[in-house]
């Protein structure tokens, strides 16, 4: 793994390979602004850089905090864009949350000479070994920069994206970002500007980290059941089976941490927790408390901190989430199924 300085040739508005389509996939969590980033970028590319483009996202019933994908497809101006299919073999992947690199489908289909823009703090990234060895990785600590600048990670990552691809003229995309906010949120323009610029400059370019040869295969999700196995009528006969879901990626930097010394086990937090992730058990025989709050199953905690807000003793505290902290403090709700 080596780092190098970023060089900036200028070739605004001309695709890296003039004959081809240039495709970007944003891998994100609802609420981090991947959809907005894709739209701003593609709008700037079409209306300001003279390219043809399409911008769209994956849609489902997912809410804020669930995985989402956003797509940008760019072609030279005179080339038509006709397909509406999602981007399977991206030239560039923008990963909005470091936790997503543990998801095997995040990097699916990345081209051998592709580029990964990664929001992650400094530190080793063993998960990136799965990448093709010829892939470029641009790492930026977008979450921290966004917090410091009162902006959002998408502004930072757009800056880094433009840095990685000079044909996406950074000045022009930044102007487009500013204009997007100038009308309704003028107060956000300056902070987005700063976040964008830091995304351009506070970049670490990592090469030689991947070990795979050639493009990664595309991934298409296969349903658990098919028409020979799906129960008739679309019913679900496995009660409570959402408990297999892992929602820890929904947290955006903060988590509640229980101090058992301070806890009076009053149960107030339990009435306001939307994620049903607080773990209760019976107290020791003869002990002061008959019911005891044992901790949090962070697999399900989306980090809203309503429990912290409700806690009368300060036993639940808002805590910055560092790598591994949730895993080390997690109390499993269903240890018989998920340790």
């Amino acid at each position: 793994m080596t780092s190098q300085a970023v060089s900036r040739p200028a070739a605004s508005g001309i695709l890296p390979n003039a004959a081809a389509t240039f495709e970007i996939r944003f891998e994100s969590i609802g609420g981090l602004g991947a959809h907005g980033a894709g739209q701003i970028l593609a709008t700037a590319a079409v209306l300001r850089l003279g390219l043809n483009g399409a911008s769209f996202s994956s849609y489902g019933s997912e809410k804020k905090g669930s995985p989402v994908r956003s797509f940008v497809r760019l072609t030279p101006s005179e080339a038509p864009i006709r397909t509406s299919e999602p981007v399977e073999m991206p030239d560039c992947l923008v990963v909005f949350h470091a936790a997503l690199i543990r998801n095997p489908t995040t990097f699916a289909g990345i081209k051998a000479d592709g580029t990964v823009i990664l929001n992650a703090p400094a530190g080793p990234l063993p998960e990136l070994k799965v990448l093709p060895r010829t892939v470029r990785v641009f790492r930026v600590d977008a979450g921290v920069i966004a917090l410091q600048e009162k902006s959002r990670p998408n502004a930072v990552l757009l800056g880094t994206l433009c840095e990685a691809f000079p044909f996406l003229d950074g000045e022009i995309v930044r102007e487009a970002l500013s204009e997007e906010f100038a009308g309704k949120h003028p107060e956000a323009v300056a902070s987005n500007d700063r976040a964008f610029r830091r995304g351009q400059t506070e970049v670490e370019v990592v090469t030689g980290i991947g070990e795979a040869v050639g493009a990664l295969p595309a991934a298409r999700s296969e349903p658990a059941w098919g028409f020979t196995t799906q129960p008739e009528g679309g019913i679900v006969m496995a009660p409570g089976s959402t408990f297999w879901n892992d929602l820890s990626m929904s947290r955006v930097g903060w988590m509640p941490v229980l101090d058992t010394e301070k806890c009076v086990h009053c149960g107030t937090c339990d009435l306001v927790c939307p994620d049903l992730c607080l773990v209760w058990g019976d107290g020791e025989p003869g002990a002061k408390y008959l019911r005891v709050l044992q901790g949090v199953d962070y697999r399900y905690c989306k980090g809203c901190l309503r429990c912290v807000e409700s806690c009368p003793t300060g036993a639940l505290a808002k805590t910055a989430e560092t790598p591994g902290l949730a895993d080390s403090l997690r109390v499993p709700l269903f240890p018989e199924f998920i340790k």
Binding site: G31, T43, L47, G53, A54, F56, Y59, G60, S61, K63, K64, G65, S77, E78, A79, P80, I81, R82, S84, E85, E222, P223, A224, W225, G226, F227, T228, T229, Q230, G234, V236, M237, A238, P239, G240, S241, T242, F243, W244, L247, S250, C266, G267, D270, L271, V272, C273, P274, D275, L276, W280, Y289, R291, D297, R299, C304, L305, R306, E309, F337
Partner: protein
């Protein structure tokens, strides 16, 4: 009728236009294109109701209206049936009318469509096509638009956002042509087109398009007081068939008018829309026939085959009603084989509607010997990729070479499944026996008959296993789950839960997983109360017949709905209330259609910003007051009505315990529960407590119950010395903060006055048992 043989040019939409009107480039989704066209047409009225994926049309128009970019009167219906009625009435009034819907919305309003065609009242309806339930699926296919085929509406198809923009102008002019005088649908693919931004050209000078549209011709209207007219008489057998002949004649006239209008529009735009889009069909031996966005994808595949010297092309209609029968015959006359793809099945008919109609068209053409393979593809939003198109093309080539079709009808792209692969394993179910009793002891006063409730300590309630599993997809901070969790703390015994469509439904039941550990039903957005009525009565009848054992304790039937569900579902809910079934209706009120992106509901207070009551230079949020649903149910004289909030858990749990007592013994109970929505109230995720407290302390959301007609305020901010002005609540939320600015003081005062008025009435009812 001449056949349009000109080939659609393979040029990119949005390139500099060749038409006579001045245009400019934009980058827009199909929904935005429909909204921009509506702005540029300058419709008089839009009646609508939010439904994914068409909602953005109304949202975009709301934003533009707020900024003064158009003057279309935007009316949010109580449901799509109501919205269609609003449109019908408005169109009858002689102006230009617009609607946009999808899927269940089209089906719920379907009965309005033949009436509108049969009574010859033009308007424009945009359909962002989406699959129909059930199970509920929000993504795109053509199962909704196929239901509109027999309604007498003209149906124009729009394959991309540019076509959506263009076809909306054509729709106005075609429908208003005196020889046609029919309502017109513009149908584009949900998500694939509705939500995908593309480069388009829009008019930069509206004069040419205004001249193109002219003024709406005069048709008889109930607003013409010099010529009183009866609209919609009762018409029986000798006459109705003649009305339908006229309707058929209008459709036949449309065959002539549509190409005329599209050609005239082409003069302005430079964009050519033949009735049938034929791509690289020159000398083609084999063809694929597809509708809308899939046809565009197939063009990419056809290019690959043509590069290899294969004589293949794509045919796709730009008009579905009237069906381009002659054009299909001409286009297919020299084609040996075709694969026809339908994005919806006509179950049991060996083909979807497009396939059936193309086959019928060529069957009557003696010169045609095209062999056809019918395929169902892309249901429920399943992507149709270039590789799928290649499969279809290869099938057509193979069929052409063989001279016969190996498999005339099949589904393409379905998954057989693997017998050895089991689906997700569940948790143990939660039955009535698993629920500890006594978390809320309900005692009946032997003298007065009044109920009192004694709650166990909150910590003790943690013994109650949750009937809802974690891992659901609700947003961080969502108030719905705490609401349901608090309800579950005191509900005893077995329960059957029924959720109407809404956030709680979609976030707890994403297939193949469910968060529910008890029996759960979802039917439709609006008829949960009817559905649960039927289930309750079947329970009692089967118990009576001895088919179900009479348990020691009867189950409790609970319907859960959002405030949106209690708009569209008000009729069914009031019906259930009047019939007084033994069931509970619990409404989590987060003051908007949050599941579809925060559109206004009737429970949204005045002045609130939502995605269909935007703020801008002209508008300052919702224009009318919030619905007093609890009082509506109180007027049904059901045993028990209450209001509560997840911010006041103990008050809520007492009321739920009483509600269960009455629902098992007497009849229907209703509770309206104020639930936090940080995303769309625009508050911090952990901001529930102060904002809910303020909503209640300001008396915006009074906590009370109506027990057999007697009103009791259960938390009186006046008596507690906690009464605060409404501004103390409004300033806490991003959706209402604008009401504290100078320009909006009138709205804020109107809200305060309404809050005061309702609170005074409530206090009078509290003080006087006769009220």
């Amino acid at each position: 009728m001449t056949t349009e043989m000109r080939e659609a040019e393979p040029t990119a939409a949005g390139l500099p236009p060749r038409g006579s009107a001045r245009q400019k480039m934009d980058f827009r989704s199909g929904n935005e294109a429909a909204a921009l066209a509506a702005r540029d047409v300058g419709f008089h009225v839009m009646g609508y109701f939010p439904i994914t994926p068409s909602t953005e049309v109304a949202e975009s128009l709301s934003k533009m209206h707020a900024d003064g970019d158009h003057e279309i009167v935007m009316i949010a219906g109580d449901g799509e049936h109501g919205a269609a009625g609003i449109c019908y009435g408005a169109a009858l009034g002689g102006g230009r009318v617009l609607n946009a819907t999808s899927s269940q919305g089209l089906l719920y309003s379907l009965e309005q469509l033949p009436v509108q065609a049969g009574t010859r009242v033009p308007m424009v309806l945009n359909i962002a096509a989406r699959t129909v339930s059930g199970p509920l699926d929000i993504r795109g296919d053509h199962s909704d638009i196929y239901f509109a085929l027999n309604t007498g509406w003209i149906i124009l198809l729009a394959r991309d956002p540019q076509a959506v923009y263009d076809m909306n102008f054509a729709a106005v002019k075609i429908g208003e042509h005196p020889d046609v005088r029919l309502p017109v649908i513009v149908c584009y693919d949900g998500f694939f087109t509705s939500h995908q931004k593309r480069r388009i050209q829009i008019f930069d000078d509206l004069d040419p398009i205004k001249a193109f549209l002219g003024v709406r011709p005069h048709f008889p209207t109930p607003l013409d007081f010099d010529h009183p007219t009866t609209f919609g008489p009762y018409m029986n057998d000798p006459d109705l068939i003649n009305n339908k002949v006229q309707l058929w004649e209008a459709m036949e006239a449309a065959r002539r008018v549509i190409p005329e209008v599209l050609t005239e529009l082409e003069g302005l735009t430079g964009r050519h829309y033949p009735l049938l889009d034929e791509y690289r069909m020159d000398g083609a031996d084999a063809a694929v026939i597809l509708m809308n966005s899939a046809a565009e994808t197939a063009k990419e595949a056809v290019d690959l085959f043509r590069d290899r010297g294969e004589k293949v092309g794509v045919i796709s209609p730009n008009v579905l009603r009237p069906f381009p029968t002659h054009e299909f015959r001409a286009a297919l006359r020299n084609v040996k084989a075709a694969t026809i793809g339908d994005r919806a099945d006509s179950y049991g008919a060996d083909g979807g509607n497009l396939s059936l109609e193309v086959r019928a068209a060529i069957q009557q053409d003696k010169a045609n010997e095209t062999v056809v393979a019918s395929r169902i593809y892309g249901l429920g939003g399943k992507d149709f990729r270039a590789s799928d198109a290649q499969t279809f093309i290869q099938l057509a080539i193979d069929t052409a070479q063989a001279g016969k079709v190996a498999e005339a009808f099949a589904y393409h792209g379905a998954t057989a499944g693997v017998a050895t692969r089991v689906g997700p394993v569940g948790l143990p179910p939660i039955t009535g026996k698993d629920i500890p009793r006594g978390m809320a002891m309900v005692n009946k006063d032997p003298v007065t008959g009044a109920l009192s409730v004694e709650l166990a300590p909150v910590w003790e309630m943690t013994k109650v296993p949750s009937r809802l599993a974690p891992g659901h997809g609700a947003c961080p901070g969502c108030g719905i789950v705490p609401t349901l969790h608090q309800v579950g703390r005191v509900l005893e015994g077995d329960v059957v839960m029924l959720f109407q469509t809404g956030c709680a439904m979609v976030t707890t039941t994403g297939y193949p997983a469910t968060a529910h550990r008890v029996n759960y039903v979802h039917n439709l957005f609006q008829n949960g109360a009817a559905t649960l009525s039927g289930l309750v009565e079947m329970y009692w009848e089967r118990v009576r017949r001895g088919e179900l054992p009479k348990p020691v304790e009867d189950p409790t039937f609970v319907m859960v709905s959002g405030d949106g569900g209690m708009d569209i579902g008000m009729g069914a809910a009031l019906g259930a209330a009047h019939r007084n079934h033994k069931m509970m209706i619990l409404e989590y009120d987060n003051q908007g259609y949050m599941n579809t992106g925060a559109q206004l509901s009737y429970s949204t207070p005045i002045g609130n910003r939502t995605s269909t009551s935007e703020i801008g230079k002209v508008d300052s949020g919702k224009r009318y007051h919030h619905k007093d649903t609890a009082q509506i149910f109180a007027a049904c004289n059901v045993p028990y009505v209450f209001t509560a909030s997840e911010g006041f858990p103990e008050d809520l749990m007492r009321k739920v315990a009483k509600a269960q007592y009455y629902a098992k013994r007497e009849g229907l109970v209703y509770g309206k529960i104020l639930s936090f929505c940080p995303l769309n109230w625009r508050t911090p995720d952990d901001g529930a407590a102060p904002v809910l407290q303020a909503a209640i302390d300001t008396c915006f959301f009074p906590l009370y119950e109506v027990d057999h007609g007697h009103t009791t305020i259960t938390y009186d901010p006046d008596a507690m010395g906690r009464r605060r002005p409404a501004t103390d609540w409004l300033k806490q939320m991003g959706k209402t903060r604008h009401l504290l600015t100078n320009g909006n003081s009138e709205l804020e005062l109107r809200l305060q006055a309404e809050v005061d008025r309702r609170w005074s009435r409530l206090k009078a009812m509290h003080a006087n048992p006769e009220l």
